[in-house]
């Protein structure tokens, strides 16, 4: 019976993923190798050059997405870790309240959040206008329609997905262990580095996986917050699919993106000191 346990535990998810993810993914793989056009139809021609063409045309946007996704993930890690740390060790009976408050803004539609950000951040609006009025900012300073805004938007929108898993991993660490470590090592920093950080790594890994991947593929922030040269690969996939009805190019780009992200996560897992990427998350 015990030997069967993991299979029974995995079975419902396996079925879900097999029917609703694997089947469409195989279909997508096949579409990515077809040629034709939307009106006459697409036919399978094993056209691997679709990949070369798509990557050649959109390498700028692909690399830019990885850069933005990476920077946003780094920002989330730096901003989010202290929050997760404090809630896990000092949140007391209010732990769940803090977590809930962090997530609550995301229960409300992104359209409303976006409209509000446009209101708050407009060039002469409540924030920038005031600062400009005090002479703290130059008159033509702006946040919207810049690279900074896109990365900031990604950081904002995915931050809870970084904080929560780190919290979850840290919360199981007994505070007495931390106190003992603080007694053992000379400084708080050393205690943190030797004891707390290693114990939180599964959470950090989960957090990075859950933020880097969707942030890199995200089409919304670049479209809303970006300027004339901030287009990300998610926007391109959207245009190719919905406007140009070029399903092969859209599929090829999606697969390329997934492959690149997989490699990225692999490299990252190696950096964390894990041999096998597929096992990394389980460490």
């Amino acid at each position: 019976m015990r030997r069967l346990t993991p299979y029974l535990l995995a079975l419902p998810s396996w079925m879900w993923l097999a029917i609703f993810l694997v089947v469409p993914m195989v279909a997508m793989a096949s579409v990515s190798l077809q040629t034709g056009n939307a009106i006459d139809g697409y036919a399978m021609t094993f056209s691997f050059s679709n990949y070369g063409d798509a990557i050649g045309r959109y390498s700028t946007q692909l690399l830019r997405s990885l850069l933005y996704g990476g920077l946003a993930t780094l920002a989330m890690l730096v901003i989010g870790y202290p929050v997760a740390y404090w809630i896990a060790f000092k949140g007391g009976t209010r732990k769940s309240m803090y977590l809930f408050l962090l997530l609550l803004p995301f229960f409300v539609s992104f359209v409303l959040r976006t409209i509000s950000w446009n209101f708050l951040l407009s060039d002469n609006g409540i924030l920038l206008g005031t600062l400009k009025g005090w002479g703290l900012l130059p008159a033509d300073f702006h946040v919207l329609a810049t690279t900074f805004a896109v990365i900031g938007g990604l950081t904002y929108n995915f931050l809870p997905f970084m904080i929560l898993p780190i919290y979850v991993a840290l919360e199981r660490v007994d505070p007495r262990v931390v106190e003992a470590a603080q007694d053992l090592y000379a400084t708080r920093a050393a205690a943190f580095r030797r004891v707390v950080l290693p114990l939180s790594l599964p959470g950090v890994f989960a957090g990075v996986l859950m933020t880097f991947v969707p942030a890199t593929a995200d089409p919304i922030n670049a479209a809303i917050l970006g300027g004339t040269s901030n287009t990300m690969i998610g926007n391109i996939i959207q245009t190719e699919y919905l406007t140009n009805l070029d399903y092969p190019t859209a599929s090829a780009l999606s697969f390329t993106l997934m492959a690149v992200l997989l490699v990225g996560i692999f490299v990252y897992a190696r950096a964390l000191g894990t041999e096998n990427v597929l096992e990394a998350a389980a460490r």
């Binding site: 995995a10 769940s96 977590l99 898993p165 603080q182 708080r188 989960a206």
Partner: protein, 261 residues
């Protein structure tokens, strides 16, 4: 350790600042729920009114959309948490055949662009002649939130000391008893965090839903459509109520936890 205390206090303030940052657009949303606007657009302050609260349910399609969203989010969260926790346990604790493939699928589920996921699910439903309605939306929402629950639960499970469970079993507890009384409490923070993420993902999804919804409209879908002519202020009020109820639940939870402690 006085330095430590000061550090903690600083982190306490910092945490509230982050909460304030994340909530700042919500403040604007709440404010404009009280705007006495004279046209369809709701972006300039034109005076205070409670009119939109009185007329909250005057747009029947919007009300239906909100109810649809909440029901779909609750059901899909329940399903996702149940099966996702199981898989998270399996991945975090056990060795089994197909583990590598499973890890890969979990990764793939997170990295599939939403548009591709929505479009390919629709093709699947169309070719299987499955009518699109709230059920297909729930299927899709479980699919894209599943990986997030699995990854979060797994981050909790790995490194948990298995000796407690062994002790429970040695003392004659059944497998189910061990799970309910030992394992589940130990992984509960991971399960709760996963549930919150899953609810947030579901209740705010636009792209995937827009493909598999048939003629069922959800809150985010209705709002995106309404952008064309101007979002009615009732949308702000509904957002305010969701947020307000959430805050009440959060506070209630903290009070209850203090009583128990």
């Amino acid at each position: 350790m006085r330095g430590t205390r000061a550090g903690d206090r600083l982190l306490h303030i910092y945490t509230w600042l982050i909460i304030a940052w994340l909530s700042s657009p919500i403040a604007v949303m709440i404010l404009f729920g009280f705007n006495d606007k004279q046209s369809k657009s709701n972006t300039t302050w034109q005076g205070f009114t409670l009119r939109w609260y009185a007329e909250l349910f005057d747009i029947p399609d919007l009300t239906t959309a909100l109810v649809n969203s909440l029901v779909i989010a609750l059901v899909s969260t329940a399903v996702t948490v149940a099966i996702g926790t199981m898989l998270g346990l399996a991945l975090g604790r056990h060795r089994f055949r197909g583990k590598g493939v499973t890890n890969f699928l979990v990764f793939a589920a997170i990295s599939t662009p939403e548009l591709v996921m929505g479009a390919s699910l629709l093709s699947l439903f169309v070719s299987g002649n499955v009518p699109r309605d709230a059920n297909t939306i729930i299927i899709a929402h479980v699919l894209f939130s599943l990986a997030f629950v699995v990854v979060t639960v797994r981050a909790r499970v790995v490194g948990l000391d298995p000796s407690l469970e062994e002790a429970a079993r040695d003392l004659g507890a059944t497998a189910w008893g061990t799970f309910r009384q030992v394992t589940l409490p130990a992984i509960m923070p991971g399960v709760l965090a996963g549930a919150m993420l899953s609810f947030a993902l579901s209740v705010d999804d636009y792209v995937v839903t827009s493909f598999v919804n048939g003629s069922t409209v959800t809150f985010p879908l209705w709002i995106v459509g309404a952008v064309k002519t101007g979002i009615p202020a009732q949308v702000n009020v509904m957002g305010t109520l969701i947020f307000g109820i959430g805050v009440l639940i959060a506070i209630g939870n903290a009070v209850a936890a203090r009583r128990r402690a």
